[in-house]
Subunit: 241 residues, 2 copies
């Protein structure tokens, strides 16, 4: 799993004779926040491409164009950096989806429809993102630091969803108590998560372009809205290549 015996010697070219005066790699100093972000994104890149086992300190550092020692300097430990990369990812994910709902100030139905659809369309529908997400989810149970990040980001997502659902329910005269809203938000979140997941993995069993339609139709039924209450906003959406 680790030991692919014959690896390239990786001599890196452009080295001066080296035995005489061992010249060092030139570098530039960055502000703490900038270097941290670069490392976090390199971490996500590595995990996304090669999985958790392929994301070693040395490999991440190389990806970020620095040496491995910097990890300790900026994050204290590898573990801590990976944890922060998870938080970084989840912040990105939910903020991107929430932004999709804000774009355009139409009816409550339109906003909800855009949000639901955006979660099962590119760029959110992405094997890389699902791989990353899944890798981290695998650590939520048992590793305390991960579970609080998960809980926080899940709560955030539920709240966004609740704020989108409530006005729609009111407008259509459906029960809209906090409890009703919450149950529906939980269910709708499940639907979105599951479709996003399977759609992203792109197993070839169906065309992912069908997902926005499937998701919106299911959401209508789930919320007991009249047919096409959400679906009719599908044409507003940006085209899918």
């Amino acid at each position: 799993m680790v030991n692919k015996p014959a690896q390239r010697p990786q001599n890196e070219q452009l080295h001066s004779p080296k035995a005489v005066t061992p010249t060092r790699k030139s570098f530039q100093r960055l502000a703490d926040a900038d270097r941290r972000r670069a490392l976090l994104e390199a971490t996500l890149d590595c995990i996304g491409e090669a999985g958790a086992s392929g994301a070693s300190a040395r490999r991440i550092a190389e990806r970020a164009g620095v040496t491995a020692g910097l990890i300790r300097h900026h994050f204290g430990s590898m573990d801590e950096m990976v944890r922060q990369a998870y938080a970084h990812l989840m912040t990105q994910l939910t903020s991107e989806a929430a932004e999709a709902a804000r774009a355009g100030g139409d009816s409550p139905e339109a906003a909800l429809a855009r949000f639901v659809a955006a979660n099962v369309m590119q760029p959110n529908l992405s094997p890389r993102k699902v791989s990353l997400w899944a890798t981290f989810i695998g650590r939520v149970d048992g590793e305390a630091g991960y579970s609080v990040i998960h809980r926080d980001s899940y709560r955030e997502f539920l709240e966004v969803l609740t704020r989108l659902i409530h006005p729609v329910l009111v407008k259509h005269g459906r029960p809209s108590s906090p409890e009703a809203c919450r149950s529906l938000a939980i269910a709708l979140n499940g639907l979105i998560d599951g479709l996003w997941l399977e759609g992203s993995l792109d197993h070839g069993l169906y065309d992912p372009h069908r997902l926005p339609g499937i998701a919106l139709s299911a959401a209508e039924g789930l919320l007991r809205l009249p047919d096409t209450a959400l679906l009719r906003h599908l044409t507003d959406l940006p085209p899918q290549d």
Copy 2:
């Protein structure tokens, strides 16, 4: 991440002086199938408890009560064993859920309700199972061997679901063409996956006991069934502690 510096020396007691006549560990030979199953289950245990990084060949072997060399003997490589452990897990998961639907030969609605509910109740609702599942899902993109296992098990699940949905739609006079069934199965699968996932992780944001009710109510809406068409079978279900 790997190097917890001060590990127990792990001397194992019950050793004869050892320098004189180096006695070997006693063992018993097992049939190939039995030893393989034992190793696969030890693999799942290790990944479930410590994550992918904690599931080394030596640790898995120790868990199974053997030495690491056996992995090569029975599986050829560590990678191959882990892949087969994934297939083993997915077979378990879907067959357990399908069995829940078979138990009791009532109406189509009851069978569907049992299946949906079983997926969001113990013992399917389990942090261990979600952790395992997520860890493997993280490898589906990019590692070819995993993607075919994923596709096969997903297709299997979809087919089970379709067979359960169809008679219910017919009975209630809803559209039941293959295409309609398939779209609904995809959506319902998403709902089940998502609720199973979040419920298993048990973030403390709501009581998982509410999940069967939420899932069944959402499924009713999703399939456009009359209210309580599925929910009224909830009382048949085995009590949740």
